[in-house]
Structures are given as structure tokens and as C-alpha cells.
Symmetry: C2
Subunit: 458 residues, 2 copies
């Protein structure tokens, strides 16, 4: 019966390509920029509407001071197992606007490409989960196991309210495993399954001196907040890439033998990345394999943006009154973002930078799930069924997400996966983000197969 | 006769306050932002029209690849002496626009304040020179000595084409002394005469890595241009304020005894500055007197602006593809900006920053004129006549201008002076720049008195 149900679902998907695409593009056209509070509530309503249509019992759960969570459930008549599916309907900001070839919320079809903020990260995946469920329900009148859906609206700002929600809804969220369907493909074009993600600490540093920008002839008299941030930054990371904040690496755990074995199997075509990025070589790596290991294993400290003074055309001789800097730190297992925020603050104090204010904008702990977990096996099989090829399995995804809430707070196995294209090419977080119609439709089949395979696994 | 002529001119100024103010505000309403190429030609035409009306024989001299120079002459019937008056009709950019209380080119009257970009730097001074000349011509039918006017349109971007113009017009510009009427008042409210200015080297540094901003999870693989600029900057100046570029201080000459004597006479009410700027103390100075000396004597290296990555609201996890930085270096006698640009480039190369591109946007050599120069004496007397008080005489103005072209290329004595208010309060180069109607009118009397006194001095 179950194998038959997947075939029926696949047939339904094949027949409904056009309406599925239409609903996907409607969702894309609705901005939902969490960093700027744009369009969130309207987007949540569209997601709920799609879930209602699919036959998922759905609620919009408001979050005090936060963005609503769209939560849905479907009970299975044939299984007592439960799979919790996580995704997010919010997207990154669209700046710099002038670099987009079409409107960031136009959802323009260019041949097989669908160009839009959120096309690859991650409204494609959210829509796929809904449409896969619909495909089971509309054909068999059942789903292979109990499904719970948690679509949040703050993933792109570090999920600040999700920990509270998880803590307050442990009973509601009871499940056997979790699929975070917010992933992409490996850059070699194979499906990718991540058994854990890096954590994140996102901070804004500000320094303010004179009331406003001054004539720069006053430079001998007045402290320059831009110089202060430069000097503070310089104490934080060496040109060789080492983070210089005391204790930063204390809690880093090396890969287990099982994790290292996975690393050795990962294909990595470095030249594809380099070509896409217009670069000649990777940073501080002699070989592609060394670059891959750094990519998976290194904690990072990235300047995401700096703003100070006059940055228009030509010369303006000003001494800035204030300076602002955004940094993200990617963390590896088992670094703790709150502990490291304290370390950063202490570091600035120790180095004489009490004039630099630190504001934390996001915390995500790193996560990990064992390679032997049943949900990992189910996804491996599903990838072969949906795409006809073996997935690439990463012991750790270099990107971040709130996976730790499922692994650490709920104590569940959790995988991070999703549909193509590879984010190396999809311009996720950048101008001209896109997916393709084929990737979108295949992504529906993939999550349907994961649901189906996990229901039947031993 | 001469004393009588100044009195007649003063009377004329008193009677014509309203039309003078009207013409001044018309000029202010015309944007002339040299850094952005906005409104330059139209502004030059308005200046010429005002000069024509005053009775000055005026031409607009186009500059190949540059902004036109408005040049005028008036022959005296009573003197063979010639005074060359320099000024500029261009202004600084107006950003950040949101900090202006009224439109930057609205020339709004707020009580006695005239708020506008260019109100204090330096359309007030340009207008004053024209109206002072008119006041002599319309009353006595003569001027006390031959006058030559050189109003340029590139002062705010470092006068890039003025050196070529000066070299090609040495005959035309023959004179006995120069007044650069582009100054302001001392912060204690007294007129200020500067016997030289600091020089300037303005550069833009750029670093480009990936083709566009990337998802920051790629940080272990891809060089970050913002970090590169931070590390490069850190090699250039110490947190104690010392410029670390090899040879930077080699050509610095200490003040002569006569210059040092002037320094000792300068009043300096530090608390006025600090209050205006919203600060508690001066940078690295134990006393106000020490701050003043640093202000006059120190070469500076000022970050004027940095732009990279995402600087909007909230968190965006991007790895910037490029970063841009603007720096001005103020230079003291006898540092040479072209020599120091070479030193900067060599420094970056020596420190491994060949990936940082340097573009020079402005060069100005420092200048100096002896305290005993006749034009300095004439201005000293004129200040007493026009304002009823002794001027503050600076051996060196901490701001910059193309004064070296007059002192070094033409070999003339040159002073830098102008009307109030003090730039410490006038918001020159900043939002809400203003002068007052009283300062503007008094500034006409002052330049008239300088012309008159220099004509009669031994």
C-alpha cells in the first residue's frame, strides 16, 4: 500500500505542476523580510491558506514581539509515527537593489528560472512540503505517518523567538524525528543531507563620538569612531584568519570517526565555486580538500557590513560622528553563542574599547545528529527515489539554522535537507536569487519520498 | 581721499543690505557640488552675473576636464598695486540629507540665520568680495588698487585643475599679494587671519574579491575585502594616533620662532568646541593649550567614510564582495602630497596589500607666509576697522586650500581669512550649515577694509 501511495503522490505532482508553480510564485511575490519587518503577517496568511487547501489543519500562532509561526498537523490513519517538518517563510533583505536584473519580488520566469528573493531560500521548500502533503491526501485520503509543520518567520534573523516557542510547546511538538526542509543541493548537483549545522552569533558594533560628522580639520582634537572600530576589529581576528578572542576555540569538538568518514566521501568541485565567484583560489588552502575541511570545520568571524561617514562620489573631508559595523560569527559544535558574546564583550573591555557598544542580533547554537539516525537513512533512500542518485551527506552544514532546538531542546534526530539548485549558484542571500521549475517540482517529490520512507523504516 | 572712500563704501553697504542679501540667497539656492558634478556651470554663470553688475570685467574660463574658473579684473585709477583675491563657488555634498532641518539649497531664513550648504563655506565670502568692489565703484567710481578675482569651482575636491591654470596664467595673475577669502572666524568670535594652511592628500582605497556579496557561510573559503581594508588600515595608524607609513614625518618642519610667538597669542576656548560637539574632552591632550598645538601642528590620517556589505536594519549574513574607504591626510609644512602618495602605495605593497587599490582624489601642498608680510598687516588693521577688535593670527590654519599655488608657484605673500561665524559653530561641511545676516554684511565691510588698507600700506 505504501509504495503505491508514493507512486500516486508522484502522479499527482506530475499532473499539478502548473497550479503548484502558480501558488509558489504567488508566495514569492509577497515580501517577508524579517530583518526589516516587511510583509511578514501577509506572508504567513498566504502560507496558511496553501496549507488549508492542502488539507493540513493549520493555525497562525502569534509570537509576542516576534513574527507568527504557521503551525499545522495532519493525523495518519495508518501509522503512529510522527515526523516534524521545519521550514521558514521569511527571506533576507534585497539590498543592493540596483544589482537585481528584475524586481526582487517580481518572481519573474526567465526560461526555466524563477528569479526572486526567497526562490531558493526557502519558499520553494515550504511550498514543496505543503504540496507533497496535498499529493498524499488528495490521492490516498491519508498520509504515511503523522505530520507536524512548523514554519517560522524569523530564520533569516537568527530565530530569536523560536527557543521560547519550542520550550512552551514541547507537548505539541512531540515527534520521532525532524526534517528541516530548508536546504539546497550540493554544488556537484546532488541532493545534500546535513547532519547538523553551524551555530551563529550575529552582532552589531557601534561607536559614537561627536554629535555629527565634523570638518576633518578637527581630526587632531576629536576621536574618530571609524578608527576606533578598525582598531577594535584588528584585535579580534588576525590576517591569517585566527579569531583572537580569549577562549573562542575552547569548546570546539573535533569530528567523530563516523563524521570524518562522511567528510572523506564528500565530492567537492572547487573550480565550480571559484568560477561562480570570479575568484582564482580559495582562502588560505593549498588543495580543494583542505578548503572543504576548513569550510565544514572552521568557526568564522565575518564583517557583514560597515557604515560610517561619507561614501558617495568624490571626496568629502569629514570626520565621522559615528560608525556602525555588523559581524557574524559561525560557530561549530559545541561552541555556545551566549558564552561567546560574553567573551567578545570582555575582550573589548580588556583591550580598552569600552566606547564600542555591542548589540547581539542573533544566537543559534550548533547542532549534530548521528550518521546512523533512521531519519538520515530515510532521506538517503528518498534522494535515490526522487532524484535517482545518492545524496551527499555532510556531518555539518557550514550554514546555520535553529536545528539545535530539535536536537538539544527536544532531543530528536534532525536532518537538514532541501531541493536544488545548489546555493553556490542560486544567489541565495544575494541579488538575482533563483530556482528552476524543474528543481521546484523535484523538491516536492523529494519531501514526499522522505515522508514515505521514514514511515516504513525499521 | 582713501579714508573717505572706505567710509563711502561702508555707507553704501549699509544702504544695500537687502539687495545684497537677496543676491546672496539666490546664489545659495543654486547647487554647486563639485564632488558630484551638480550645478557647477549654472552657479558659475550666477557668480559672473553678480560680478558684471558690480562693474568687474569678468570671464568664465573653461577648464578642460574640470570646472570653470570665474575670473575678473578691475583697474584702479589711483594705484599701481594689485591684489589678487581667491575664492570658490563650489560646495561640499549635502549628505546625510535626513539630518537637515530645512532643504540644503533652500537658503532658509531662520531669524538672523541663513541655513544652506555654502552659507559659511564659502558663497558668503565670494559674494562679499563682489559687493565690496561694487561699493567702491558705485560711490567713488574707482577702486583703491587693481583687483583680480579668481573664483574656482573645485576647492572642495582639492582643486585638481588649479595648478595647471596657475601655471598657464602666470602673466594674467601678476599681483603684489593674495587674499584667499575663504576663511571663517576664530571660535572665540574674533576675525581670524591664517598665514598658511595645511596640505591635503585625499585617497580612496578599494578592495574587491568575490563578484558579489555572498552567503557568509562561505567565509572559510573566500577572502573578505572588508577585513582586508581593516588590516591594511591598522598598519597605517596606531591607536595612539601616530601615522605608521615609512617616511611620513620626514619633511615636517617645526614652527619658526615668529610662528611659535603667534601660537602663544591664540585664544582657545576648548569648552566651546566640546559643548558644540557633545564631547567631554579632546583627543590625547591634557590641556586646552596642548590640544591647540596638536590642532595646528599635527599631520592627520582621517577615515572619512567606509562602505561595505549590508548596513541596513537588522541582521543579514553576507560576505561582502567589495569594500571602499575614503581617507584624508592633512599635511603640514613642508610635506608633499605626491611624495606621500607614493609612500602610501609602497607601504601597502610592503605590508602585503597589493589587493588594495589606491586612487588619489586630491592633492594640496601646505603653505606658509611670514608674519611680517604687508598683506598680513593690512588685514590686521582691516579687522580692527570692520569689527572693532584685534584678529587672531594663526601661523597655520588646520584646514586646507590651494594657498601653496600663490606662495610657492607665484611666489607671493598670501593670507587666508574670511567672515564669521566660526566654522566650529557654522556646521561647515555638515548638515544645517549656516551664516547670519550680520556676519554676511560685516564680511563685506571686512574685505572692503582689507582692500583699502593694503592699498595704503607702506
Amino acid at each position: 500500500m505504501k509504495d503505491e501511495s508514493l507512486k500516486q503522490a508522484f502522479d499527482y505532482i506530475q499532473k499539478n505542476k502548473e497550479p503548484f508553480l502558480r501558488d509558489f510564485r504567488t508566495l514569492l511575490r509577497q515580501p517577508s523580510i524579517s530583518a526589516q519587518g516587511k510583509g511578514i503577517a501577509d506572508c504567513a496568511r498566504i502560507v496558511k491558506k496553501n496549507m488549508d487547501t492542502a488539507g493540513i489543519k493549520t493555525q497562525i500562532l502569534p509570537e509576542k514581539n516576534g513574527n507568527p509561526i504557521v503551525y499545522g498537523e495532519v493525523k495518519s490513519k495508518s501509522s503512529s509515527k510522527t515526523l516534524l517538518i521545519y521550514g521558514h517563510y521569511d527571506v533576507q533583505p534585497v539590498e543592493p537593489l540596483e544589482e537585481w536584473d528584475s524586481g526582487p519580488f517580481e518572481a519573474k520566469l526567465q526560461g526555466k528560472k524563477i528569479v526572486s528573493r526567497g526562490a531558493a531560500d526557502s519558499k520553494n521548500n515550504v511550498t514543496s512540503c505543503i504540496k507533497a502533503t496535498e499529493s498524499f491526501l488528495k490521492t490516498t485520503g491519508d498520509v504515511p505517518l503523522n505530520l507536524k509543520f512548523l514554519f517560522e518567520g524569523e530564520e533569516e534573523i537568527g530565530s530569536p523567538h523560536l527557543p521560547g516557542f519550542i520550550d512552551q510547546n514541547k507537548e505539541r511538538l512531540k515527534a520521532d524525528s525532524v526534517v528541516c526542509y530548508d536546504g539546497d543541493f550540493d554544488e556537484t548537483g546532488r541532493p545534500k543531507i546535513s547532519l547538523g549545522v553551524k551555530g551563529l552569533l550575529y552582532v552589531e558594533l557601534r561607536c559614537k563620538k561627536a554629535r555629527e560628522d565634523l570638518h576633518s580639520s578637527y581630526a587632531p582634537l576629536v576621536d574618530n569612531p571609524a578608527w576606533r572600530l578598525v582598531w577594535a576589529l584588528n584585535t579580534m581576528k588576525s590576517p591569517e584568519g585566527k579569531i583572537l578572542i580569549k577562549g573562542w576555540y575552547d569548546d570546539v569538538e573535533p569530528f567523530t570517526p563516523a563524521q570524518s568518514k562522511l567528510v572523506s566521501k564528500i565530492p567537492f568541485r572547487g573550480e565550480n565555486y571559484l568560477k561562480e565567484w570570479g575568484l582564482k583560489k580559495f582562502l588560505n588552502a593549498k588543495t580543494n580538500r583542505e578548503a572543504l575541511k576548513k569550510y565544514l570545520m572552521e568557526p568564522t568571524c565575518t564583517i557583514c557590513g560597515i557604515k560610517t561617514g561619507y561614501t558617495g562620489q568624490g571626496s568629502k573631508t569629514v570626520l565621522p560622528g559615528s560608525a556602525m559595523l555588523k559581524i557574524d560569527f559561525r560557530l561549530v559544535y559545541n561552541q555556545n553563542p551566549k558564552k561567546l558574546l560574553a567573551a567578545l564583550k570582555s575582550h573589548l573591555h580588556q583591550h580598552g574599547f569600552d566606547d564600542v557598544q555591542v548589540k547581539a542580533l542573533g544566537f543559534l547554537e550548533p547542532s549534530r545528529t548521528k550518521p546512523s539516525a533512521p531519519i538520515a537513512k530515510a532521506a538517503d533512500r528518498a534522494a535515490k527515489i526522487a532524484y535517482g542518485r545518492s545524496p551527499v551527506v555532510l556531518p555539518r552544514n557550514p550554514a546555520s539554522g535553529p536545528d539545535y532546538l530539535f536536537t538539544k531542546r527536544l532531543g530528536l534526530d534532525s536532518i537538514w535537507t532541501g531541493s536544488g539548485p545548489p546555493s553556490a549558484y542560486s544567489h541565495a542571500h544575494a541579488p538575482n536569487e533563483y530556482t528552476t521549475t524543474d528543481d521546484f517540482i523535484a523538491g516536492i517529490r523529494y519531501i514526499a519520498a522522505i515522508i514515505h520512507q521514514y514511515a516504513s523504516i525499521a
